[in-house]
Amino acid sequence: MGVDAREIQVGDVVGVRDETPAHHHRTPWFVKGKTGRIASISGPFLNPESRAHGGDGLPKRHLCSVEFKQVDIWGGRYCENDGDRLLVDIYEHWLEPG
């Protein structure tokens, strides 16, 4: 599930899985189901979804900084500048090819 960060690169279009599992996760609700572009890739880091519940955090996950257009996130609720952006760090297994 998700993408393998080793197979994507900066500039690629990705979608965020629109799911809300019962366990701890660090994907904000407002980007779920949205589409953005990879701005940078870092890690891999221990997976907090495992560590938060006493797990070992393995396998490690890459972290993708994904840039969204604010208007793509909030639609008409975004009343500022059309060019404004939002950068959110999302683990690779939360992303799918755009």
Binding site: P28, S42, L63, I73, E80, N81, R85, L87, D89, Y91
Partner: protein, 205 residues
């Protein structure tokens, strides 16, 4: 030690006594299960309190005056800040985002209160407030105006939500009129708020 008033759980500005009691209970459990050492939490808090925004300001001033350092800082911040003697926590990596005439970064953590404490010390209370965390992503320009920062229409605002293992430091735009100033004086222009993005660096007197 968990019973003394010096317990780190009581040093937080937590309004509810119930939450303080819970923090003490959790701390006792962590110590009794050898997950943290008896003094580890206090030492971690003490270490964080020794850091102040002056540390981040020194990094910014060096980046303004030394292009090679700035390139290293933007590419891989951990070894770059270590050159200045700052050892980042192993808990998270540091990423630096640069503000220019055309692009302005504002940092928030919508999920909790992630903050580059290794370079800026403890975050201000407003950074941890629900109001800031909710509004910064939806109406960043309105939030910045409340801090006194009015950005032009030709400036793109890029909000950075540090949701995970990266902590973000804003490299503010070097103020006009600061050409030729020595690094130590430049550092005095760099405010905490300018490194979060709710402000700009001060103009030279």
């Amino acid at each position: 030690m968990s019973d003394t008033p010096a317990h780190p759980g009581l040093q937080h500005h937590v309004p509810l006594p119930g939450r303080a009691k819970r923090a003490i209970a959790i701390h006792r459990l962590l110590v009794s299960k050898n997950i943290v050492g008896p003094d580890e939490v206090r030492e971690t808090i003490d270490r964080a309190r020794r850091r102040t925004p002056a540390d981040g300001a020194r990094v910014v001033a060096r980046a303004w005056t030394d292009p090679a350092f700035k390139a290293r800082l933007m590419a891989d911040a951990r070894p770059a800040v270590f050159e200045l003697g700052y050892r980042l926590s192993r808990d998270a990596e540091l990423a630096v985002v640069e503000n220019t005439d055309r692009l302005h970064h504002l940092v928030v953590c919508t999920l909790c209160s992630c903050y580059p404490t290794s370079l800026l010390g403890q975050p201000p209370d407003w950074y941890k407030s629900f109001a800031y965390r909710q509004r910064a992503v939806v109406e960043p320009r309105a939030v910045m105006r409340e801090f006194g920062l009015h950005l032009g229409e030709d400036v793109v605002v890029r909000v950075v939500d540090s949701t995970a293992d990266l902590r973000y430091l804003v490299l503010p735009r070097r103020p006009n009129g600061s050409e030729g100033m020595p690094e130590a004086e430049l550092a005095e222009l760099v405010t905490r708020d300018s490194m979060i993005g709710v402000g700009q660096a001060r103009n030279p007197a």
